[in-house]
Amino acid sequence: MAERRNDNKREPWRDPGAQAYVQIENVTKRFGDFVAVNNVSLKIYQHEIFCLLGGSGCGKTTLLRMLAGFEPPTSGRILIDGKDMADTPPYERPTNMMFQSYALFPHMTVAKNVSFGLEQEKLPKAEVAQRVDEILDIVKMREYAQRKPHQLSGGQRQRVALARALAKRPKLLLLDEPLGALDKKLREQTQFELINIQERLGVTFVVVTHDQEEAMTLASRIGVMNRGEIVQVGTPSEIYEFPGSRFVADFIGSVNMFEGRLIEDLPDRVRIHSPELGGVVYVDHGISSAPGAAVWAAIRPEKINISRAAPASTAENCVRGIVKEIAYMGDLSIYLVKIEAGKMVRVTLPNIERLADDERILWDESVYLSWHSSSPVVLPQ
């Protein structure tokens, strides 16, 4: 996760008086009987990188296409810069889009692709040429200006698509799975370049992605979508550390979920009895649910300690189990531990030291799993 440099300075969504650049108000989109986007309301502020994150078919692309003007909303309003976009066709909107397939014009050179949008503005030729050079410099594609798209690699095409979308200096740039077609290494590298370009040009980005890592890296805020609805909006760390629902907790990263019943609910302390865990979960922050209510305690795998000896501190939650599976990932190892109540629990451990085999916890060993009472998140639904 790349924390954005000026995060604390620019969090306009925390300021109730701030003017949103994009306002999506109760937007619904139906295709026949199918509801692609269901009553979505969102505010996106200037200079944000807002990621719409969700699985395939969750409506994220439809929402983006409605912002671009390719699909009219069935109901609801979309305002960009305070102006209702209902009657504005795509070619008159202050937005530009980077397509998932890049949609580069195959019969035009890189330079012609990039200048296409500028030519529509009827700018003088010299200025068009200068701005094309400028933007190709930013994406480091200047020496390829005279190539045709089919002569470029996937990564180069991605850059040209970005340059073309940026050439008109849009206030709002819409990116549909911008890095989807790139391999992992190139994708990581490009993510940071995208952030740099965004900060340099001060454009507002709305990014659609199904890749949670990509969303975590890029986003100032993430809107998690499921079945056409926005389930949760928040910064990457809010979404990860404080998921609002089981869906979000499960979708972002991996998580161990224990179903249980609330037996004590104090402002600073919660106890949950969970038969799945075979005991009681202590949580050191309060929630607002009636005692006796069914809740889930969600614990991230990296927040669980695994040890051969019983943990010293009694303040910690602790269960016993047997290691069933180990996956060595290089930077970390994943343990699947069967706890006494029968449930499989996932634990990850960073491989900080090079341990000899006898120091390492191995298959079928009996271990203690423990976590601090600040670690679990209590989810009412």
Partner: protein, 328 residues
């Protein structure tokens, strides 16, 4: 652009067309790659066909075009004669070609044929483009239906369809009678034996040859390119002119040649619908052959026409190879 192999199985009507007009071997021939004899055989068959039914007749016609007319059977002098065991007497007569250039009839017929073919091609294109575009943009189910309808006229004899036009266009034909009955006109309009009738006949008959290659091109267009153009500020007309039109150029050229080339040599339509004042070259050729029984001049007319048509075919080849070089 190679044929996508899945289309071989799709059973669409456009498919056979595409194979035909591109003359490309279908993908399954790749299977023959490991089979040396089979591969040779597959390639040899079309070659053999072309040699037997195109090259050999062409050489015969070419040979006849250099001989002299003679009242005999066949009605031309042989090109060479053995005058002794060791000597051969060759008569190479260039007069037939010279005759074509000196007699106004031939030059004006050639020019008229090219004019008629060119104008018909333009009208075909203007009518076919929106039709092909609409078919390519319709849903896959209705697409097959539309293509079916385009090809349906081929199930009736070509000659019958041209005769039907006589029934429509003549002075007491369907069109004139209707217009008079409606009171739009008092006197029948003369449509038969005019250039207008010839254009109608050619455009009507050759329209499918324009629609199908255009359709097969337009159908492959990526619709997101138009969205991208709109997104970059181009309105519908601009998008069409800058994106769709240039990308459909191969289809336009293929369709135009498929209409233009046979239209130049068209014989039946101008004979039945056109006037006898101005003849198209196909008619001249047939008159030369059947009425005049001057096979050598007829041969020369045919060869000259072929050379004339080589130019657009080479243009087509040039564009095809450029497209192939430009494809991924």
């Amino acid at each position: 652009m190679p044929l996508p192999s899945h289309r071989l199985l799709s059973g669409r009507l456009g498919l056979w067309w595409e194979i035909f007009y591109r003359f490309g071997p279908p993908r399954w021939t790749l299977y023959m790659r490991n089979n040396w004899a089979g591969k040779r055989l597959v390639i040899a068959l079309p070659y053999l066909w072309l040699v037997l039914f195109f090259l050999v007749p062409f050489i015969i016609v070419f040979k006849i075009s250099f001989s002299e007319v003679r009242l005999a059977m066949p009605p031309y002098a042989p090109l060479w004669e053995w005058i002794s065991e060791k000597a051969i007497d060759v008569h190479l007569n260039l007069g037939n070609y010279l005759y074509l250039v000196t007699d106004d009839l031939y030059i004006s017929s050639y020019l008229y044929s090219i004019k008629v073919a060119a104008i018909s091609t333009v009208f075909c294109l203007l009518i076919a483009y929106p039709m092909a575009y609409a078919i390519a943009r319709s849903s896959p189910a209705t697409r097959s239906l539309y293509l079916m309808l385009i090809i349906l006229p081929f199930w009736t004899s070509f000659l019958l369809r041209v005769y039907a036009w006589i029934g429509l266009l003549k002075s007491n034909g369907v069109i004139n009678n209707t217009l008079i009955a409606l009171g739009v006109i008092d006197e029948p309009i003369t449509m038969m034996q005019t250039d207008f009738a010839v254009f109608i006949g050619i455009v009507y008959s050759y329209l499918p040859f324009m629609i199908l290659p255009l359709y097969s091109n337009l159908e492959k267009h990526d619709f997101t390119l138009l969205e991208a153009a709109a997104d970059l500020g181009a309105g519908p007309i601009k998008s069409f002119l800058r994106i769709t039109l240039p990308l459909s150029m191969p289809g336009i050229i293929a369709g135009s040649l498929l209409v233009f080339i046979p239209a130049v040599g068209e014989y039946v339509i101008p004979s039945l619908l056109g006037s006898s004042d101005q003849l198209m070259i196909g008619r001249v050729l047939s008159d030369e052959f059947f009425a005049n029984r001057d096979w050598p001049v007829a041969g020369a007319v045919a060869i000259a026409m072929l050379i004339l048509l080589m130019v657009p075919i080479m243009v087509f080849q040039h564009f095809q190879s450029r497209e192939l070089a430009g494809a991924k």
